[in-house]
């Protein structure tokens, strides 16, 4: 069952169609990637889902229900441009945002307490936001996004501006949220950042969906029978009977014809007496697939 379904959603800004008949489903408890370059219409779409703006045409269903004014309390949204009230204390700020999401005072306090303890930042409660470093502010922003236990969370460029430690921390939290049953949408143009964690994606460009589905299936569909051999020592052959895509001092990437299996290649390499360190099928990155799709459209 889909937590979110879009059916032919259109958003028209004065002589510019930001969202052009977009349809896709986000399944429950999935990590879903909303991918596309800058200006593809991702933010416009998110704003429609979060009820910030309305769609001109089409249908949006949350958990099978028409999107309505009660839904914002079931959604969590971390905008690309982070923002908090700089002069407000961390605790007051989170209480305020949580109550605006419909929690009562007691619930809000308890949930904020839980998250602050989890991040080991309980001592920050009386600190003003402007006193915190950027990374610290991101944590507060993350708590503000998830504090009301939303069914569906939308992260817009979640890792921009995060150092590797905080990136891992947030990734880990997101994984845990997913395990608890939360559905998550990542919106980003940095496709390499999410391809390892997203299970399903939709690729959009110029307001239109150009590709959607399971990440692994997509990769399989777009694979080009590329294999990479890494080795130690001498290469022993120049592999000129194959279509060599690239080579370095200790690796070579080869494209096999569609009817040739990878086993043939490794057999040949072994027969040469090469010292093989690794042998991999090279799957295309989402970035490659995206560029290919855009070019072919």
């Amino acid at each position: 069952m889909a937590i979110l379904s879009l059916r032919n959603v259109v958003k028209q800004y004065h002589n510019h169609r930001a969202v052009d008949s977009v349809s896709f489903d986000v399944e429950k408890q999935k990590l879903f990637g909303l991918l596309g370059p800058n200006g593809a219409g991702k933010t416009s779409l998110i704003r429609i889902i979060t009820t910030i703006t309305g769609a001109d045409e089409g249908e949006i269903l949350i958990d099978g229900e028409q999107l309505n004014s009660y839904h914002p309390s079931q959604l969590g949204y971390m905008p690309e441009e982070r923002g908090l009230y700089k002069k407000m204390k961390v605790g007051d700020q989170l209480m305020y945002l949580a109550q605006l999401k419909g929690l009562d005072k007691k619930e809000a306090k308890q949930k904020i307490g839980y998250w602050m303890k989890k991040f080991d930042i309980e001592a920050w409660w009386p600190k003003k936001i402007e006193e915190l470093s950027k990374g610290m502010q991101q944590k507060i922003q993350f708590i503000a996004t998830v504090v009301h236990d939303p069914k569906l969370i939308i992260f817009d460029e979640p890792f921009s501006g995060l150092d590797p430690i905080n990136t891992n921390l947030i990734k880990e939290e997101i994984r845990q949220l997913k395990e608890k049953g939360t559905s998550i949408i990542f919106s980003t143009h940095r496709m390499e950042q999410v391809e390892e964690i997203c299970e399903e994606i939709v690729l959009i460009n110029e307001g239109k969906v150009i590709l959607q589905g399971d990440v692994n299936e997509i990769k399989q569909n777009f694979k080009e029978n590329l294999y990479k051999i890494e080795f130690d020592g001498e290469i022993k052959s120049d592999f000129s009977q194959f279509d060599v895509q690239s080579r370095t001092a200790n690796s070579i990437t080869i494209k096999l014809p569609a009817d040739v299996d990878g086993n043939e290649l490794i057999k040949y390499a072994v027969s040469l007496g090469m010292h093989i360190v690794s042998f991999n099928e090279v799957l295309p990155t989402l970035n490659d697939i995206f560029i290919k799709q855009v070019e072919s459209n």
């Binding site: 910030i52 914002p72 949204y77 905008p79």
Partner: protein, 452 residues
């Protein structure tokens, strides 16, 4: 509704707990108190110390007259002027006055000299001049053999009164409508109207721009996108407008209580009984405001207070409050809309301020005209037109404008509140999400038309 309340609460609390708010709210009355104290001291210093004046009166006119002035003490000496000039100070006098002989009885000008080591205050000079002028005039009348009664009968006092107001339905003159009261009521009405209009003008600018800055801050901070994923833009805008309005009301209320307290306190500190207005009046007139004396001689302060109490307060206060809220609401909504369109570059959006500034400033200018002619065409138009009525209608209230005009004006005001909240909301919801776009009137016009 609950969310709106949360927003109002935050907008209110975040401001009233700010140090700068507490400081300005408390310091303003103290500042006014200090000003009153300094002003009072200056006034008092001019009038407090009686000047001991030694007079060498060769004309013999002042000497033989009965001097009624309490401001200065006059004592006389026949000793030679040169000796007096040397000794008056050591003899305990503040100054020496030399009146030469007065020979030409028809002269209208007589030069009198004073000698003093310090510069005399304008108050002292004028007070001595007045005493001398009166004494010389009396002397000339006595010398001229003119019958005093005939002379007195030349004086004329004409009062222009409003027959329709001063006389009741039964033709009887109403109690309290003494000679000066109708004139006085106009003076009081004008003063009160001016003050109320000015308060409105200040409120619109100070708190209106507070709303605008706050909208801009949210937009620049980028918190606004997070906010409106939880609440409707119009809720956020209204919450801000109402919250800041509450801040303004709090500040005004504190001032309304503290300023009279501080001023009364200052009066007590200075030793004057605040009830005894006559004393203050004396001090004021002696302290250099001599030109006012002629006017204030005719007006009894008790009469002013009576006249003040006699105003139709049960009408004035509620109507003023309605216009206060209405005016604030309309303009702060517009300020919010402008703030949303402005973004980080204040200079770029400056032209958008114009449509707000113009009616306010125009209303303030029209108010001066309306005070002079409270029932004239401009006053009536200005007090009905919703963008000027919050300033002009209060300024007319002390002049009993017709009820239908007040009613119509309030109706138009309420409709306009609704209209401008709607209009501002339409601009606001687009403006707050619009970055890096040069905004002009055409653009804003498009926003109003956007579907939500």
């Amino acid at each position: 509704m609950n969310k709106l309340w949360l927003i109002i609460k935050r907008e209110y609390l975040i401001r009233v707990t700010r140090k700068s708010f507490i400081i300005t709210t408390l310091l303003t009355p103290i500042g006014i108190g200090v000003l009153a104290l300094v002003g009072g001291l200056i006034v008092a210093k001019g009038g407090q110390s009686q000047q001991k004046v030694l007079v060498k009166d060769d004309s013999e006119i002042l000497k033989s007259a009965e001097i009624t002035s309490k401001s200065n003490i006059y004592e006389f000496s026949r000793a030679p002027l040169e000796r007096l000039k040397e000794d008056y100070k050591t003899d305990g006098y503040d100054l020496l006055l030399y009146i030469p002989a007065f020979e030409n009885k028809m002269a209208t000008q007589h030069d009198v000299k004073y000698y003093s080591q310090e510069k005399l205050s304008i108050g002292t000079i004028e007070s001595i001049e007045r005493t001398l002028e009166r004494v010389f005039k009396e002397h000339k009348i006595d010398q001229s053999n003119i019958d005093r009664e005939i002379l007195e009968s030349f004086k004329m006092n004409i009062d222009l009164e409003n027959g329709a107001i001063a006389v009741g339905d039964d033709g009887e003159i109403k109690a309290g409508s003494e000679d000066t009261s109708s004139k006085l009521s106009i003076v009081i009405g004008t003063a009160l109207g001016g003050i109320m209009g000015f308060i409105m003008y200040m409120v619109i600018f100070i708190y209106g721009s507070m709303v605008m800055r706050s909208v801009m801050e949210e937009k620049i901070n980028r918190i606004v996108e997070l906010m409106i994923s939880s609440v409707k833009p119009i809720q956020l805008m209204l919450g801000k407008v109402i919250g800041v309005g509450g801040v303004g009301l709090t500040q005004l209320a504190v001032w309304l209580i503290l300023i009279p307290l501080v001023v009364t306190g200052v009066q007590l500190v200075m030793g004057g009984d605040p009830q005894d207005m006559q004393q203050l009046q004396d001090m004021a007139s002696q302290g250099g405001a001599a030109s006012l004396q002629a006017a204030s001689d005719d007006i009894d302060f008790h009469q002013v207070i009576n006249e003040f109490k006699g105003l139709n307060w049960t009408m004035i206060i509620p109507v003023f409050v309605i216009f206060f809220f209405g005016g604030y609401f309309i303009y702060s909504s517009l300020f919010a809309a402008v703030g949303s369109a402005m973004g980080d570059d204040m200079g770029e959006g400056q032209q958008l301020m114009l449509p707000i500034m113009i009616p306010v400033i125009l209303a303030f200018i029209m108010m001066q005209g309306s005070l002079q002619n409270p029932n004239g065409g401009m006053a009536v138009f200005g007090s009905l037109f919703p963008l000027t009525s919050p300033i002009i209608m209060p300024s007319r209230l002390a002049f009993d404008p017709p009820m239908w005009q007040i009613g119509l004006s309030i109706l138009l005001l309420i409709l306009s509140c609704w209209f401008f909240a709607w209009l501002a909301g339409r601009i606001y919801r687009v403006g707050i999400l619009m970055y890096g776009k040069k905004v002009n009137f055409k653009e804003v016009g498009k926003w109003i038309m956007y579907k939500s």
